[in-house]
Symmetry: D2
Subunit: 404 residues, 4 copies
């Protein structure tokens, strides 16, 4: 979104707080421009974003969050998530895949032994792996039978985002005997794994969030993630996931508003009875853009506040206390709920100030609404807002789980 | 509002960004507690907040923004406005008077000669003056006749906030012959000045925003404010005024939400068919508080962003460019509009989650809505939002005037 | 509210469906004009609306709903409630008292024997009685000791609307021994009854909804309401009460919007930067009035639909089935919730399109918001909306109780 | 939408005011069930709704509004529009085509001579013609050259809804010499007419609202519509068009809410932390459905009020006065704006109470939002609301044009 006020005053929705010399953000900005070219076609085609994945790999950004000692760039979550936001301005799917890549990669650190964390970080950096998953927490259709140190997996998982283009997968299943939930990191090419390519969402259409079949898939003992750590930090991955989502929402809102702005300036006609020569002269058009911009700015400030919180909480590592984890959950829940709400409003309302001819499949502006609409369903705002309210009233933090 | 999450995560609506060692904020917090005792009675009585003014004078805070070289504390506008926000949590009138005191005082700097600026800063610091005004920009009923270097004023001004308790007044009038608007700083006790004490607003009831009569009031040449300066900085007082307003709105929202919270925790009964023992257990109550809290947090972040902008713009002084002035106007307009909208929502909605018995005159919770409702009328959100939208679309800044 | 489109098209918010030859509505319209003169003063003074009660008695309208065979006018609830709505356009208190008068009077029919129903209808018609109450369902502080056929009452009730000006009272208490809730109709002048005149609500200020003290108050056996009837019809009084409330809300919204319209046309100034000569030329002003009008019209249509339902349900009498009672409850809940929501929006928003000078205590426009704000708290919209949703989803009707 | 409360109380959103013995509505209900089977596939395919058109023709409903004396059924607009609403519950495109069919057919009556009106009514009834158009009022790219009594048309028109499946077309063009706008009714098979089948809207995908090419298309003198009538009635077709739109919006909202209801009851899972066994037990789910239902009911009542107005205005014929026409325009504008706003809210919000798995292309629920989103752009709510507000304030009616 343009224009960007110069200092001393700056809006954050337009990225005024971005360090222009940051090489990662510069790379992301370049990629975003490239993704923009395929975004509408990708939305219509669904399936696999192969070209985009190739660009991502070439860019080196897949190592962004891997600690430097293991060959990565050692950048904080906030950097990852700013790039998630940037990509979402044009392509919600690649934004989603990029953010979750680090989510699944970091799961090795959170759920595995220190050796596993190191090994997967190092191998991922060396091989430029992309991480996907088949570990949906609602599904109970993947079962593992323990054989010595191995597990043999059979069944299926829905919502296996990224599995269609992943090098490595985070997988989760229930132990056949104990019912205990187990986790492992395995190659996506492991024999017996078949992504069905049946993702049929109304949005986020290249995330490959369909079903993965498992037929006698072997998981070796050193792939099984087992940690000696306990405590609040072990559930921080939920906060990472919620942060990915909220930045997809926010980037979608920013992207939609920015594209609408360009359309209104360059193509919209004034309403026939308005008495104006240009659409932008109509006080109605000004008001709607002003209103949406202010809300997107507010959402951005909340989101940035949440990024700061997540970075700080992550930096605390295993020393993170329950209270610190809870407070971080609250600030992220607030930002997530607000971003989702505003993104829905922006992505639907822009059509009113672009006009009839903007609403074609060729323009593809409706993809923003479809992306946000489907993506916000994964964790209802209602429950986030209640958690924030309950904390505000009583000081109680939500119970750590995969959604909060 | 409690609770305040500890670092690493912090909400700004609860003042988590306040430096606890700041002596001015500590004084303000103490005063706020004192003002809280009289706030409901003051709202009902209207008239003059004499006791509060006495406390303000004793506190030393009336010198807060006067530069150090003239005997003041040299604190930035953001400090003044944080205290405006703090006072508004309990008493919108004293908050308003305190904020505008510096607005009128700084007008000598903006509209007068360097000598006048220095003189009024110095005298104000020495004598602990409180500044009010009789200079409403809509009114054209005060006329001055020039006699040599003097002016003789006759007529009246409405909305003369603070005139009822001021030591010194900023006054404005039209020159009888030329129609030119003139400004001066004169003692409130000057012969011929009569505040009518006729302020009858539904809120902000101790601001004394009524009529002042002028009968043959003499203004001497060295009281007449005449500046050689021109340019964008000369209209920055509009941005100060809009910033006072927005922090009154925001503080009112924060105060109302905080008081409602305490009431709901300690006094509200669960709804009879809810099935809960306590009101705070009802998901409805949680949701409403969560929703309002998130919005107040967003408003706070926007407001803080505006404070940063105003400090930076003020620091540029007469070097301030049109673009810098314009960008500051936009960020303040956004924060002002959002704060007003949210404050109206919060101050009305809280009753629903407090319940029937909360809505008594004795509790006085309705003063928050009445204060915000009347105060937001002084500069319509509609036009601010349009200005933001117009800037977002075209990059054009609003024309500098007393409202933007 | 003006203007009223002529046939063939008519808005209902402006009363286009009113039969101009209806004598009761004509009387009500005349009374409304008279009540308008005292409404602001009454709001400020609180206490007893003696003059208004005198006018009501003179008007004969207190017999409106009494069946013709007992000396009344035999008009349906819809006629009563249209007049409640009419009065609320200027005076929420008298509107409330008038509506509840029939609620308490009809309680004799619903809770008493046929003989009691007839007796109280007949006596009320003959003596032009006004009915109030002291029977708040939340309070458990009034206890009755049975002595033979009599009861002796001791204790107190809050929210005893109308008790300060009533001739007769509906009272309720708990039997000291059994805890059973008992009802009676007794003279307001009965020895031992003392209204404390302590009503302190932020609105509905002349409803006298304060505390009534009972010291050894005797209730005779024939005053004790005991019915042989059971079944859905016996709880229809809840639907009457909810209908009174919703028409107070709706009338307040209609009255506020109508008064605002006149103010904007005759007194509002265009915003200083609007470029218009008159406020009504500003598209912003037009939009806000259009938006509020459409919502008030929608609320009126829902309310009228609810009136039709209530009349039909009442006409079914003791034959009313659970399903019919439930469906009526749903349609009234929907109308009540929507009317309350819109009334809050209208009564707050009008100030924005009237402007700064409208918000004075002398104009008294804020009474509309205060009246609606306090009155909507008596039965939360949240639970009504849930009941509607539950019915829509499952077909289940809410459990009959005093709120639904 | 189910359930339908039985008398004495009835919601209108569920069609309780439909006469169950009406044969046309019974036919429409049967067709709606058939259309439901193809609706999702049709939305995905776009193009021509051939099967649906065949069913429509077989049904006889294409004669519904043709006067009885010319072989039609002589039903009022309200009957046509109730069926538009019914069809829109499942298929926005066929709903649109059906409603506009009568709009174009009746244009012969409004714009032509009495003989033309009779001829086209009679032929249309005899031949069971379907009417489309190529007459977009914004386009100025179709030019006619007069040759004697004939016109030769060359150029193109966008937004030619129905032209792809029409038997007859309403066409409009500018006279090459005078610039005057001309109208005619001609066969869709006339030599030189080529629909490009290039409609690419995000919704209403089978309306064929694309471009029609005209190459030396001949229009004979008796096809040229020329009326001797003037006055308010001649622009009533705008009100018909706005009524078609609003009933498409409303039917879409009703259909979306009804389908969501079934999904939530039968397939939605309770949220994982809700503590409920079924989604419908969650107070959140109940509240959202209650809220949406109430709003759809309000929209239905406004729409029905507009239908009544339109029938009455149409019945006035050429005697219709400016004031009557204006009042009808206002009631339709109010209903149209409200229906559009609510339809957008309903069609987006339903996903939140259906859950993640509902948002698939196979379910096709997003077509409701896409249909409403694109369709509401054709005549901005902003201007309708302003017109209503202007009328409410000043009594002025909007200038008759093709949008109001």
């Amino acid at each position: 979104m343009e224009p960007k006020p110069t200092p001393p005053v700056a809006f954050h929705a337009t990225g005024a707080d971005i360090d222009p010399s940051d090489p990662y953000l510069a790379t992301a900005a370049r990629l975003t421009q490239e993704f923009a070219k395929d975004a509408i076609a990708g939305d219509q085609a669904g399936g696999r974003p192969d070209a985009q994945m190739a660009r991502l790999k070439e860019s080196g950004l897949l190592k962004l969050h891997i600690p430097k000692e293991y060959g990565g760039d050692g950048q904080p979550w906030s950097k990852v998530l700013r790039i998630v936001r940037e990509f979402a301005k044009v392509d919600g799917s690649i934004s989603h895949l990029f953010g979750y890549h680090f989510h699944w990669l970091s799961a090795n650190y959170l759920k595995g032994s220190p050796e596993q964390a190191e090994r997967f970080y190092r191998l991922s950096a060396e091989n430029n792996w992309f991480w996907g998953n088949s570990s949906n927490s609602f599904s109970r259709n993947l079962v593992g039978r323990q054989q010595g140190k191995q597990y043999i997996l059979n069944g299926r998982h829905p919502f296996s985002s990224g599995a269609h283009v992943a090098d490595y997968l985070q997988v989760a299943w229930e132990d056949e005997e104990t019912g205990r939930r187990c986790f492992a990191a395995i190659p996506a090419t492991r024999t017996g794994i078949t992504p069905l390519d049946d993702w049929d969402g109304i949005g986020q259409r290249q995330t490959g969030s369909g079903t993965v079949l498992f037929e006698n898939v072997q998981v070796s003992g050193d792939e099984l993630l087992v940690s000696n750590h306990r405590g609040p930090f072990s559930s921080i991955s939920a906060l990472v996931a919620q942060s990915v989502l909220l930045n997809v929402f926010l980037g979608s809102a920013q992207g939609a508003l920015g594209e609408a702005r360009v359309y209104t300036i360059t193509q919209s006609r004034p309403w026939i009875t308005s008495g104006f020569d240009k659409a932008v002269e109509d006080p109605w058009i000004k008001r709607v853009y002003g209103d949406l911009f202010i809300k997107v700015e507010a959402a951005t400030l909340l989101a940035n506040s949440a990024l700061t919180g997540l970075d700080a909480a992550w930096a605390r590592g295993w020393a993170l206390t329950e209270e610190e984890r809870g407070a971080t959950a609250i600030v992220i829940a607030a930002a997530n709920s607000y971003a989702g709400t505003i993104a829905l409003e922006v992505t639907s309302t822009i059509f009113e100030v672009m006009g009839t001819r903007s609403a074609t499949a060729a323009h593809g502006y409706d993809r923003f609404w479809r992306n946000v609409r489907i993506h916000t369903l994964h964790s209802p705002s209602e429950y986030k807002v209640r958690n924030v309210g309950n904390w505000f009233l009583t000081g109680q933090f939500p119970e750590p789980n995969v959604f909060q």
